[in-house]
Amino acid sequence: MSLGRALALRAVTLVVVLFGVLLMVVIVLGATGVSDRVLTAYVSDQLRVVRQELSQKIREPMELERALEQYRAELTASYGLDRPWFQRLPQMILRVLTLDLGYSRTITSFTGSSRIADIIAERIPNTIILVTTSVIISAVIGITLGVRAAVRAGGLYDRILSLLSSVSFALPSWWTGLLFILVFSFYLGLFPFGGLYSAPPPSGMMERLADIIWHAILPVLTLVTVIVGSWAYISRTIVINTAREDFVNVARAKGLPESLILRRYIIRPSAPPIITNIVFAISGSIGGAILTETVFNFPGMGRLYYEAITSFDEGLVIALTYLYTLIYVASRFLLEVLYLLLDPRVRI
């Protein structure tokens, strides 16, 4: 299979994923009747507002009813409620695919806009900064620890690290967050209980930045605690596997100094899988941050997704699910390309 063909196949798969997830979400919403229910509720909500306004102008009850009935028909048609859900479907998918996300029903952005694109645009940077910072910190710590453990594999340090990384793997991020709040916010009073800004936020530019960092420390610490273990363990396993390759034995047989062997013959060939792991971890953690964000009341995409689901905001749910998949899929593709660039063996 040629390189181009392999990449093309990847791309097709990922597009199918994207489309498939979107289709699944829309079909589930439609077939379970949730979509109809939500839209109907929304129409009657709007009608109630209009009835109040109109009753000021139109005194004749019959005429008022007629006007309202007409308005209802217009609304119903504009939401597509006069057609079954599967006929509304293609239009909806097309809109979302082109990132025309529409308007939310209840949730608004911090500036008051109800355009879904505005709401999400405000929140995405928060999530990305949170996740990227945590992943990079955990990667640096984890790789350092893991390589050190691999060099003295089987020793006390290695065993302790293995145990700690299993604990870290078994820690749920949200409970770790609760624990940190209990310890650092409640008992020690060092950090705030949640949110991203103090109320009211401090005025100066530097003070504001410091305020945000002060609020972000606990969420980042939480994510680092739960991710770092698998980093250490994966790096350790990769390095150990590389250290048993024949070319390392050859280097040793040639009498090269151990430090050179470690640097050039073990760590360098281990680099590609470790680095591609970073991208993988970031894409994986974005979904996982939903829980951390909920615990810390962190104004990111995850928290928004949870709010959207619990308030039945159909448009927002579809848009966010689509975006989650998009980010996930795009980073997977990036990963694939990166892997090809970094590891010449894959290209053959």
Partner: protein, 475 residues
Amino acid sequence: MALSWWRIFWRYKVSKAGVSLLVFMVASSIYVLVSYPADFGVRVWNNPGYWADYPREAPPAWVNLFTDQKLPEHIVAVAGRPSSRYSTGSSVFTIYELAVNYYYDDYPGFLSLSIGPLEFYDTPPIVEISLVRPDGQSIILYTASVSAIFPGEEPPYRRFTETPFRIYLSGEDQVIQSIQRFLLDKGVVMQYGELVKLGPEKILFQGIGDGGMTGSVLRGQYILRIVFQSSSPADKISWIKAVVGGRVYGLSGTDRIGRDLAAGLLFGFPVALLIGFVTSGLTTVIGSALGILSGYAGGRLDELIQRISDILNNIPLLPLLIFFTFIFKPSIWLIVMILVAFGWSGLTIVVRSIVLQVKSEQYVEAAVSLGASRWRIMSRHIFPVIAPFIFAQMIFSTPSAILAEAALSFLGLGDPSLPSWGQMLDYSFRSGGVNIGLWWWIIPPGVLIVLTGLTFVLLALGIEPVVSPRLRRMR
């Protein structure tokens, strides 16, 4: 084969630790299955009425070991038969005496009294409740008459058969008024509102000297006297229960509505194991079967299975899991179903690559040339080689299912009929338990989740060297 397998596995400390943890969890689960009612979630755990007589937000009783001030424990006194009975004229007096030894440094949380099913034959009996203090003072707290006879009702008249008659003494008007009178006798004037705010139990259990209230707890034996005045000697009362609400409770305290957290924590074991085992079992069976099929059959079927698992492998799981459980009614089987539906693909891809390797081994070729059927080759020559690996995968994927259920429960999407550790944490977080530092409500459920996860990680670490001999030398 099987024996050497176990010997290698058992060589490692992690394996021993994992196995002992697993045994502990299975034992706890069996205990729960045997001793808990099947509808524990609906009838007990999520039924606030059941927990009415429990203290709220009480820390575990063992905190008393670490403090100088001994907080009152929860005291329940039950009497099945009267302590004395006498009759004067046409009235029969049945007297119940419930003794409570109170030697603590703080006042009780509340006082309540419940009367079980009773029957009477003539006029409704009259109940009088009084408290006799260690200093000999006696206070009549409450008097009431059992509800009157309905027109057309035939004797014996039965009352409180469905639910016992519960008198929350700490909140009763009558109690507060009679304490007011009691205080007035001692020369202390206290406003009604003030007394309500303070709580009547703080006066009832306080020492009284010549100069009024002493401000400290009066220790000793208190006796709750309940007198039934009935008109027929045939009248029967089944039981009387008095509760002196503690400020500490049991092994792991209570939550906001008074639920005994130890009971919930224990119930979490079978729930977690059920989710973990069912999910990982189904995922492994489906994943490896499709993997073997895909690797061995090749051709179009292989292509199809690989494309599907590739697609599934690229779906972000948590957002969709949240979405589905929210849209459909949250149930444990739905969660398991979704986890299985999206979870088998990774295993399929790996199993297929191993099968492809094994397929080209000489002994398989030999079997083919001997004319063995495809089924025989698959089940006899290929499956045994990959079986340990599949088993390791099953162990390794168990905690992720448990963690996923816990996460969903924490978001409020748990199955309400099966209380789990995640649901306990959901309630503690949502009701602000974290912000007021109710550690006994937050730490134990999480510790158990981590411990469960850790059990399977340790087992997987122990199995790893069995599966990949390369790692065997290292630990």
